[in-house]
């Protein structure tokens, strides 16, 4: 085991995957010699050469289209989109092409072995073009897997699993935690399962569900609630599509209450999908309405970032309201 931050863990995953899969390519804006603006791809070009780790022109739709072509011809492709806010020029290539390659061709062709890595989320004083959480646009698209790690250990294990998955994956990296999240990470190769949520902490009064950078927010809120005698079960969803209904439903059947926290705006956010499914699965077990603590329905603000955020205090208030309903 070694101490790593999330960027080092991601770098380690990419390095291991490239060593084991000689077809694998890593590319995107500035990812070559410079190692990416966040330095996730540092040193890869030195090791694997300019043919396998390289800069592309500034064109997200081109990067995604190119990645589709590579993967459709059997080359493993890991494309970096510099910020998730800039994934929209690539939207058509991802939702109409990557997602449907296998389906529309009747499995004559597929783009398994394609991962779009992209830093998402706020908390870095980045304003709306460097802080968005666009995961829900992709969870609406059958054919894509959507994965969000919460710490360095997960980032490595989930990224290795994503690269080796037989389906295209959009891998959202919480950039607020890139350097802030440091922990023990195995130096060798390991994978964490996609499509499987993790029960981070057991509890009996309320289930708190989040993913990515919001996990530390709900953990903090849970600590506050525990001091008032409320026992919280905490679940990290890890994969948003396809998501682990069974683990969440089992927990809610036990606690009778569910609170979902995400940074993206409330309306049309993935919490709505979870809430609808869980009320269907657990209707007779629910002791209170399913709570959603989410971003406001505004673009992500700059100066009012703190107010916008579904932070620990807002979450704590919602936990109390749910328990005292």
């Amino acid at each position: 085991m070694a101490e790593m931050n999330m960027l080092q863990a991601i770098n380690s995953a990419l390095r291991i995957a490239m060593e084991k899969d000689p077809t694998m390519l890593v590319f995107g804006e500035d990812v070559g010699h410079f190692g990416g603006v966040f330095r996730a791809t540092s040193g890869l070009q030195d090791t694997f050469g300019r043919g396998r780790c390289f800069n592309t022109p500034l064109t997200e739709q081109g990067i995604a289209g190119f990645a589709n072509g590579l993967a459709s011809n059997g080359t493993t492709a890991v494309a970096e989109i510099q910020f998730a806010d800039y994934i929209f020029p690539a939207f058509d290539q991802i939702v109409n092409e990557s997602a449907k390659f296998r389906y529309r061709s009747g499995n004559e062709f597929n783009v398994g072995g394609l991962v779009y890595r992209t830093p998402y989320g706020g908390g870095i004083a980045g304003g709306h073009y460097h802080s968005q959480s666009p995961e829900a646009y992709f969870t609406q698209t059958p054919g894509l897997k959507v994965v969000v790690p919460r710490n360095a250990h997960q980032a490595k294990g989930l990224l290795l699993a994503s690269i080796r998955d037989k389906n295209p994956v959009v891998f959202f990296e919480p950039k607020r935690l890139y350097r802030a999240s440091v922990g023990e990470v195995p130096e060798g190769d390991y994978e964490l399962p996609l499509g499987k949520a993790e029960v981070v902490k057991e509890g009996k009064d309320v289930t708190l569900l989040a993913w990515g950078a919001q996990m530390e927010i709900v953990e903090k809120a849970a600590e506050m609630a525990e001091k008032e005698g409320i026992s919280c079960e905490i679940i990290d969803l890890r994969t948003l599509s396809p998501w682990d209904v069974d683990t969440v439903a089992a927990s809610v059947k036990k606690t009778g209450r569910l609170l979902i926290n995400h940074e993206a705006p409330l309306t049309g956010g993935f919490a709505g999908e979870i809430a609808a499914t869980i009320q269907e699965e657990c209707f007779l077990y629910l002791e209170s309405p399913i709570a959603r603590v989410c971003g406001l329905d505004t673009p992500y603000p700059l100066i009012h970032e703190k107010e916008y955020m579904p932070d620990a205090l807002k979450t704590f208030e919602a936990i109390k309201a749910s328990v005292n309903f």
Partner: protein
């Protein structure tokens, strides 16, 4: 700092460049009567290759005529013809190795036939029956087959262009001696994907042939309303790419250009742009009526440049084809296509279980649940779902 595109020459008076500054000649080899121009350098072609090309020409003509009829009779929902562009498609396809990857737009079924797609396979796709390789997921004409290295057609325009850059790069990295070829119309060249794909191919050195069918119209929009520059070829030069403009109705000119483009792409690991000047003789699709935007006179004028006829005359001049054999070939294909229609339309639709297959490599638990619920519903109301109810 290096900047390869910087012109080193300096001037001291204001002087603009315009589209006429770039002289782009058009390659022509065959004259209208089927004889080559005196100074023309012919492509590599022998009798067997010429016959393989011509066979695909005749099949495509027959298929287009018959399937247009089938659509009018309501037997299939949609169709697009290749009519008028056979030389552009087949001249280029015939220059390739059969393992070169084709990424087509939607009008290039002649190339697919050339590769060996059977009449039955065409029909199964168009009738969305259970033998369709695409499992009835896409509208008619969205063919694709891994066995013939022909990627499945996708409807959104221009998406195959950056994909072709990726396929070419993949072939290069695997050390395979093959190229990708990417077909698109001059209308699709307005999409962002075109710029992205061309630029990336030139910069990243991807062996891919970009083949623009400049056929005069993007549905109803004529080229004058589509671009203001010197065609599409001028852009290839702008991206730093080997570029040529050919007479797209001249089979031998297209073949010659593509043979050399392929050799260049392989030797230099670099893309090439070919702009084929042609004319879409038919409607854009069966949902389109060209009489609303262009004259019969214009169409008639282009019929005189019929690419199939020109190639046929050349074949007859060479002694490789006789008029009587030609007529027999048309007749044989008419019968074959008609018979295949009758067979394909009786083959049942794919089973309902296939609706959740291939979304992912394995159906997710949620998808399985949705299928079970759907099947229970179909069982309850079988008369409302006649295609699948009898086959649950």
């Amino acid at each position: 700092m290096s900047n390869a595109s910087t012109n080193q020459e300096t001037v001291h008076k204001v002087s603009f460049l315009d589209r006429e500054s770039l002289h782009i000649p058009i390659l022509k080899i065959l004259q209208a009567d089927g004889t080559p121009y005196e100074e023309a350098v012919l492509p590599q072609i022998d009798e067997a290759l010429a016959k393989r090309i011509y066979d695909a020409c005749v099949f495509t003509r027959v298929l287009d005529e018959r399937m247009l009829g089938a659509q009018r009779q309501g037997r299939i929902s949609f169709y697009m013809t290749c009519t008028g562009e056979e030389a552009a498609i087949l001249g280029s396809a015939a220059a390739l190795d059969d393992k070169d990857v084709i990424l087509a737009q939607y009008r290039e079924h002649a190339a697919l036939r050339y590769r060996g797609f059977t009449t039955e396979q065409f029909m199964n796709q168009m009738f969305s029956n259970e033998k369709d390789l695409g499992k009835g997921r896409q509208m008619p004409i969205h063919y694709g087959t891994a066995a013939l290295h022909y990627q499945t057609i996708s409807s959104p325009l221009g998406t195959q262009i950056p994909q072709a850059t990726g396929v070419g790069y993949s072939l290069k990295m695997k050390g395979e001696r093959n190229v990708a070829i990417c077909y698109f119309g001059e209308g699709a060249a307005s999409e962002g994907d075109f710029h992205a794909g061309m630029n990336m191919a030139a910069v990243l050195k991807s062996p891919v042939i970009f083949f623009c069918r400049n056929n005069g119209y993007a549905i109803s929009t004529p080229t004058e309303e589509q671009f203001a520059g010197n065609g599409i070829a001028s852009r290839g030069v702008g991206y730093g790419m080997h570029t040529i403009r050919v007479d797209g109705n001249d089979m031998l000119a297209v073949l010659a250009a593509t043979q050399q483009a392929r050799a260049y792409a392989l030797e230099h690991n670099a893309p090439v742009l070919i702009e084929a000047m042609t004319y879409r003789l038919g409607a854009h699709s069966t949902s389109d009526d060209p009489s609303g935007y262009r004259s019969k006179e214009e169409e008639a004028k282009w019929r005189e440049h019929d690419p199939v006829k020109r190639f046929k005359l050349w074949m007859i001049n060479k002694g490789w084809l006789a008029e009587a054999d030609d007529e027999a070939m048309y007749e044989r294909y008419r019968e074959e296509v008609l018979a295949a229609v009758k067979v394909a339309e009786k083959i049942p639709a794919p089973r309902i279980d296939e609706i959740i297959e291939d979304v992912y490599d394995e159906p997710t638990p949620l998808l399985k649940k949705q299928l079970e619920s759907l099947k229970a519903h179909v069982k309850k109301y079988p008369q409302a779902y006649p295609k699948t109810a009898g086959r649950l």
